[in-house]
Every structure is written in C-alpha cells, then in structure tokens.
C-alpha cells in the first residue's frame, strides 16, 4: 500500500515541528527517516500512523485520503521505540491483543487466535517464551515480540520508531538484517525512524534526510552518499574534512593550504568538503594541492587505519580524518607528530550563492 504525504504542517505551540512536508512512498518500499533529534522525523511517523494530527496537509494510503481517519481505523502496524508491550499480559496475550479486541463478528475463534499467535511467535523465533511476561525478556526479545504484535493484524503498512535504538550493537545488527528479510518476505510498506546514518543507509530502499522540520534530501542510499545535496546532509552522513577559504585564479586557498580546482569557478568565499576516503596521504605535496598536516592520533581497530590530523599553518573547524589501508600503514609506520600532506581525489565545493555542491575529480 503506497503512502502519500501532501504539504504536511505541524506545530506544537509556537514550535513548528514540520514545515510543508510532501513525500511519496511507493508500495512495498522500505524507507528510513533519518535526522538528528528534534528534526521532526518521529512526529512525521506519528502523523502517518494517526497518533498525532497534522495542522495542515493530506495523507493518502493507496490513493485514499485517510487524513481524517482515526488511528484505530488506519490499520497500520506500529512498533514503539521502547516496545510498549502490555506489561501485565503474557507474550502470547500481547501478540493476540489486536485480534482479541476485534468486534465479535470479525473476531476469529479462540482456537484460531491461538494458532495465529503460535505462527507469529514462530516467525520471530520466540515460541518458547509464549507464557513469559515482558519484564522477563531481554531488549532484543521485546523488540521482536513488539514486531510480532504489530504484524498480527497483517498490516499493509508497518511504521517503526527508532526500532533498534535501545539495543546493543551486536543485537542491533542481527535484528536489522532480520527485519530486512521479513520486509522482503511479507512485502508490506515500511517506514522507520532512526538517527543512525549507518542503519538508515544499510536498511532502506530510500532514505529521507530531515532537519528542522524539513526534508533535506530523498534518495537511494548509494546516491545519497555519493551526491549529498546540502551541507547539512554532508555533515550528517559521517565525518567530512573541510577546507574553508577564498577562491581566486581557479584555486581555493587559506593561509598555507591551497588546492587547484580542475575547472574554473567564480571567485569568492567557499568551502571544500572531502570525505575521509576521498583523500590520500603523502610525505610530499603534489602539484595540484598543498595541505600540510600533522598526525594527531592513530586508530588501528577496524578494516582500515584511521588517522586524525591537525592542520599546520591553516585552520579547520574539526580535525581531519583520513583512512589508510593496513598495508599502507605498515609501509609508512607514521607516529604521532609526523608531518604529511593530504592529496584530494574527489571534492565537493559549497559556495554561499548555491545550495547544492559542485563535485570535482582530480587525477
């Protein structure tokens, strides 16, 4: 079932939580709403569910206007951040709740309900916990029961609010993969909220990046990462190295640091964004760039070695971060305090007069 949002606006008192949000989610898609806290992503999810009402705008499910439809009638599945399991009911009763409260005419027989609950618990691989109470479960188990409960009504839309936020890293990764499989198997339309960019990029078909109540960018994960449309999206999708300077004669420069741009750009103030993997390190400067740096710290854990670098003779808002392979590390053996030079491969130039960046390639 597709979801269409048209010009959604929402205020809490004088605080404008959502500004003119329009979004189209096709049937069967898994969409991540990504943004920092206070960006309005949870509010948007709750408006889709009907737990909040928008001040203006329309919501359509499969082309049908549901804006005025009560949350009870929208028949969406909703998974809460803190699971919201009914604490005085057993796991089986929790999962059965949606079926139990159906009007008598539509309600399946008790035996039928029991069978359905059994199937759902099997699906989330927790059949052995049917008689437990929520307080006796671990976080990951609670989350899966919450999912089973939401899926009991066979919703065509599943909404998840920070579904893995309260879980530890390992459980989170497993559950993520499991949810993706479940989505592909049952083929509902899912929207989930997260502030974890890695989670959003890994799990979603498309990512909606939000900030301050507005949508910054909607794109597939690869496209989003390759071509962020704004500085905000750039900053939010992981670390960036920034050279803020003046452009003159096809060069961006700040004190000792400069980079020659491959094509002509109007002069004036600008910021060049470079991702950690879009920069190489060398012991000597190259012809097209002069970015002196000093090694500040070295992190060996992970697939690559991450170096934090302090600019020498110029300034950056944050330390630079560059990843090198373990092989490179072993060949070079850098120490804290060593000097080196950064060489850009790809850069994204932001100028005050245009919102979206220009991307440059060297070499």
């Amino acid at each position: 079932m597709s979801i269409t949002l048209e010009n959604i606006d929402k205020s809490f008192g004088s605080f404008r939580a959502l500004r003119d949000i329009s979004l189209e989610i096709p049937d069967g898609e898994l969409v991540g709403l990504l943004g920092p806290s206070g960006s309005g992503k949870t509010t948007l999810l709750r408006i889709i569910a009907g737990l909040e009402s928008a001040n203006a705008g329309r919501i359509l499910f499969h082309g049908q206007d549901v804006t005025r439809l009560h949350v009870r009638e929208r028949k969406v599945g909703f998974v809460f951040q803190h699971y919201a399991l009914f604490r005085h009911m057993t796991v089986a009763d929790n999962v059965a709740f949606g079926l139990d409260v159906l009007p008598r005419r539509q309600r399946p027989s008790a035996a039928e309900i029991r069978k359905r609950v059994g199937e759902l618990l099997e699906m989330v691989q927790l059949s052995h916990l049917a008689d437990r109470y929520p307080s006796q479960l671990s976080g990951g188990q609670k989350q899966r029961i919450a999912l089973a409960r939401a899926l009991a009504m066979q919703p065509q839309i599943l909404l998840l609010d920070e579904p893995f936020g309260a879980l530890d890293a390992k459980v989170r990764k497993d559950l993520r993969r499991w949810l993706r499989n479940l989505h592909d198997e049952l083929n509902f339309t899912s929207v989930f909220v997260t502030h974890d960019q890695e989670e959003a990029l890994e799990l979603s078909d498309r990512v909606v990046v939000m900030s301050a109540g507005q949508i910054e960018q909607v794109d597939q994960p690869q496209a989003l990462y390759a071509r962020p449309v704004s500085q905000f999206v750039f900053d939010f999708l992981g670390h960036v190295n920034v050279l803020a300077g003046e452009i003159a004669n096809q060069r961006i420069a700040q004190r000792d640091a400069w980079i020659r741009l491959p094509e002509a750009v109007p002069s004036g103030a600008a910021q060049l964004y470079l991702r950690p993997h879009e920069v190489r390190l060398q012991l000597h400067p190259v012809e097209h760039a002069h970015l002196p740096l000093q090694v500040e710290s070295i992190s060996l854990v992970g697939a690559e070695v991450r170096l934090e670098l302090r600019p020498c003779g110029w300034d950056a808002p944050q330390l630079w971060e560059v990843g090198i392979t373990h092989a490179e590390y072993n060949g070079w053996q850098p120490q804290r305090g060593d000097r080196c030079f950064a060489v850009p491969d790809v850069g994204h130039l932001f100028r005050p007069d245009c919102a979206s960046p220009g991307t440059f390639y060297w070499g």
Partner: protein, 287 residues
C-alpha cells in the same frame, strides 16, 4: 581501618538498643496503649452492655448513616479520581499544573473550614442555598450535605495515588492498544486498569477510611440530629458528652476496628506490590 569501623557510633550495642527501646516506648505510649484502652473501656461493663450499646437505636442509625456516606463517597471519588488522573497525565492543556496543585486543596484546608464553606454556600442563608430552598431542597443539616463535605475532604486520595504511577508508566501502552484497534473502553478495561489496579485499590481503601472517620467537616454541616444526621464519629462525641463513656467507647471501638482493618488491607496491598516488583527479570538471550 577495622578498628575505626568498629568504633562507629551506631555499631555500639548499647546505643542501638537504647534507641530501639526508646522508639518502642514512645510507640507504646502514644499509639498502642490508647488503642488498647478503647477496647478495654468498651468492654469494661461486660460483653452484654457492649452488645446493648451497639444495638442501641441511635447507634444503629449512626452506623447506617456512616455506611451510606462511605457507600456514596467511595464510588464518586473513584470515578472522579480516575478521570482527573487520566486528564492530567494523558493530555497537555493550559492550567494542567494548576489543576494538579488544586487537587491537594482538601488536604491543605482544615476540614472545619471546608464544612463552613459548604454551609455558607448551600445553607438556607447561603447563596445557592436560598435558591435551592425555593425548590424545597435542603442539603445542609441532612445526609446529602454530609456526603458532599465527605466527598470534598476525601477527593484527593484516589487521584494522588494514580497520578505519579500513570505519569511514570506513560501513554505508550495505550497508544499501542489504540493502534491495534482497541476502543476507548477496551483500552481502559484491558490496558489502563490492570496497570493501575493496585494503586486504585489503595486509594479506595484510604478514601473509605477517611470517609468513615471524618469528623470536622461533617460536624459543621450535620446539625447533630440523633437518629437522623448523626454519623459514628459524631455519635461518639454525643455519647461522651452525655457521660455515657462506655457507650462512646463502644462506638469508638467500631471506628478503631475499621482503622485496623484498613491498615491490614493496606499492608497486604503493599506486600503484594513489593512481591510483584521483586519478580526476577529472567534474561534468556537467544537472539
């Protein structure tokens, strides 16, 4: 270190035991002995006199009125308390904080003052009372007035028990219920009520105890008509003023009995709650 630890003041046996016996002595003098004397006095003229006093026409009528007041007050404040707690914990509205503070007014105001206020408002010379008189409705110096002031005095008990609990539990479970299609009544019956039931029973027990024992406010609006507007606490006073000490203590022993019963129920509920919370959270990780 060890020696120092042993020298800590509270660890010395004589300090501990003298403090404990002092506390026990105070409790005995202030609480236990007076309570015991009520029963001793009530039975001082023998069980037959006790029974005769108990089955006295006016005493029976006082018991009846007291039960009537409690039977009306408790359900009224049960509904009112749940409604109020629901309102202030589930909705945001201007004046919400003020409302939470207002709930406590009956606790802050002396019951006598409360009685006087009602008398002033609903008495035959009062603002509303005069108007009611025209329709031949008398509230003060009759049982409806007694119920009204008792409701006023006891109205915070249920709400006070529920508000912190419902605030702490949040509304997520109710939201989960409504998303799953539950109607308002189903939500209340199957999600909200089971979560608050023990606090609710506790609130009811306290409301009942106070409704039965209220003296100050009731004495202002009752008019002390024997056999008509006399509740048990008022009856105790009347009998005592009649120099019928044994009779007074007989009625008092009834009230004391209700109080003891209340304490028993209260500690049973607390014990149950403590046991529920102590249920070990079994972690069986099998992701």
């Amino acid at each position: 270190m060890h020696k120092q630890a042993r020298l800590r003041i509270a660890d010395q046996a004589w300090v501990k035991w003298s403090l404990v016996s002092l506390a026990l002595l105070v409790v005995a003098l202030v609480l236990v002995v007076p309570l015991a004397i009520i029963f001793v006095q009530a039975f001082s003229a023998g069980a037959e006199t006790f029974w005769a006093n108990l089955t006295d026409e006016y005493t029976l009528s006082a018991i009846g009125l007291t039960l009537l007041v409690a039977a009306l007050t408790v359900p009224i404040n049960l509904v009112f308390g749940i409604f109020l707690a629901w309102l202030v914990t589930r909705f945001e509205f201007p004046g919400r904080k003020a409302l939470i503070t207002l709930i406590d007014i009956p606790f802050a105001v002396s019951p006598v003052v409360a009685g006087l206020l009602y008398l002033l408002l609903y008495g035959s010379n009062g603002w509303l009372g005069e108007w009611l008189m025209d329709y031949d409705i008398q509230l003060m110096f009759a049982w409806p007035g007694i119920v009204m002031v008792t409701v006023f005095v006891t109205c915070p008990f249920v709400a006070r028990e529920l508000i912190p609990l419902m605030q702490q539990q949040g509304r997520e479970e109710e939201e989960a219920g409504v998303v799953l299609g539950a109607s308002g009544w189903q939500l209340f019956r199957r999600v909200t009520l089971p979560n608050i039931q023990w606090a609710l029973i506790y609130g009811v027990v306290l409301t009942n105890a106070r409704a039965v024992g209220e003296f100050g406010a009731v004495s202002v609006v009752s008019g002390n008509i024997r056999g008509e507007t006399n509740t048990l606490p008022l009856h105790v006073e009347l009998l005592y003023q009649d120099y019928n000490a044994v009779g007074a203590f007989t009625s008092a022993s009834l009230l004391a009995g209700i109080a003891l019963l209340t304490l028993l129920v209260k500690s049973m509920i607390e014990w149950r709650q403590a046991r529920q919370q102590a249920t070990p959270a079994v972690r069986t990780d099998s992701h």
